[in-house]
């Protein structure tokens, strides 16, 4: 019978916490970049112009269809060769996940925008708003409310996907856990602890998202 011993994990808890902080930071950066990228891609996709919508479509489909780990390797090992720049694990990860989550966010934005009744845009145009004003003031605020659950889900997926950066030696939670497991010869405890840290963090984010959703559902403006 195996005797569990978490004391080496607890003694090195600060390493894991530092890893978690890096995981959250990377998720935050990718979100901050991915949401505007996604909105831009969605607007390009929906614009009448083929010169905008075709390239946006390619970016969206390629980044949604290929494995994120291949994307990360491409950005980390491949891109520096073309651009002749120094690539750090952090930069490669931030780039990959910004564009990748942007591609997913684009489809969420697009579906949200399309779901807003055509009459809303027409009413906005009929009182003299420009296309951009109608989008910003009337369509997007309604679309964003509907998209919120899908956005939260995607953000949580993104946080889980950030574990891939451990493979290019960025010190996220998983990477720290792997290091610690080798150092302490206690892989069971270390990986279990790391899994629990992910579980708690992600469950917490899910719970907060569910709470906000309920709040939005009861606020008067959403009643139909």
């Amino acid at each position: 019978m195996y005797r569990w011993d978490f004391s080496p994990v607890i003694a090195n808890g600060d390493l894991l916490l530092a890893g978690l902080a890096n995981t959250l930071a990377l998720t935050g950066v990718a979100l901050a970049g991915g949401i505007p990228v996604g909105l831009a891609l969605a607007l390009a996709r929906l614009s009448g112009s083929r010169f905008l919508s075709a390239p946006a479509g390619v970016v969206i489909e390629v980044f949604r269809t290929t494995p994120p780990l291949v994307q990360l390797f491409w950005f980390y090992f491949g891109l520096p060769i073309v651009l002749k720049v120094e690539m750090t694990p952090y930069l490669a990860a931030a780039l990959t996940f910004t564009i990748q989550s942007g591609a997913f966010f684009a489809e969420i934005f697009r579906a949200g925008i399309v779901s807003v009744d055509r009459g809303q845009r027409e009413a906005a145009r009929a009182i003299g708003m420009t296309e951009a004003q109608a989008m910003r003031r009337i369509v997007l605020p309604q679309a964003v409310k509907r998209m919120f659950p899908a956005m939260m889900e995607r953000s949580i997926e993104l946080m889980k996907t950030t574990t891939l950066v451990a493979t290019v030696s960025y010190a996220d939670l998983l990477y720290q856990a792997n290091e610690l497991a080798q150092k302490t010869f206690r892989p069971l405890e270390v990986f279990t602890a790391a899994a629990l840290m992910y579980l708690v963090t992600i469950s917490l984010v899910s719970a907060i998202a569910a709470l906000v959703e309920r709040r939005m559902a009861v606020s008067g403006e959403m009643a139909r």
Binding site: Y2, E61, V62, R64, T65, T66, P67, P68, L69, V70, Q71, F73, W74, F77, G78, L79, I81, V82, K84, I156, M159, K160, T161, T163, L164, A166, T167, L174, A177, N178, A181, P187, L188, V190, F191, T192, A194, A195, Y198, L199, I202, S203, S206
Partner: protein, 221 residues
Amino acid sequence: MSYRWDFAPVLDNWQALAFGAIGTVRLFLVCLVLGLSLGLVVALMRRSRHGVLRWLAIGFIELFRNTPVLVQILWFYFALPMLVPVEISPFGAAILGISLNSAAYSAEIYRAGIQSIEPGQWEAARAIGMTGLQVLRRIVLPQALRRVLPALTNRGIEIFKMTTLASVVAYVELLQQGKLVASLNFNPLEVYTVIGALFFLLLYPLVRATYALERRLARSD
């Protein structure tokens, strides 16, 4: 000065890549079958009247959905052998991680599908004397499965993409072989471009098929 792409060394190593591709497809098929069928079992447990079964299912779903699949694979590879006296191969760890993760996700898909069937269907089948199991098998599941087919296809695509994670425990699949080729020829740009393109070419038809399924379903419902 612009970079001169050279795909020749990649093509010269096509056998290594093909070998990897076989590993990818093998892992994909095993995880697809295990993940989607186990998911149905978990979904049915989730609806069970027995509290223990129901809570087991809920715990399983939450645990596997709320932790990263890469952590799961590494846990099965490095941590599990400490608990049970068996050797776990990279293939085994990848199968466990990806299949169980996919089971948790597909359980939620099945559940949504079953829930979307109107109560009238249950009542009508009950009214002609069917047992609960018969109603499920003959009436509810056929309709529910049809509705969730696009979501399941999507899940299948995700599983295919997830197989690359097995490279982290050095299972021989496409990306793992790519790493090898790239390190031998110092040409990561070309190798990873080719591998990305291969995945895209393999998966994009499936993506299109999912769109088509979604459209057809939207029309018929």
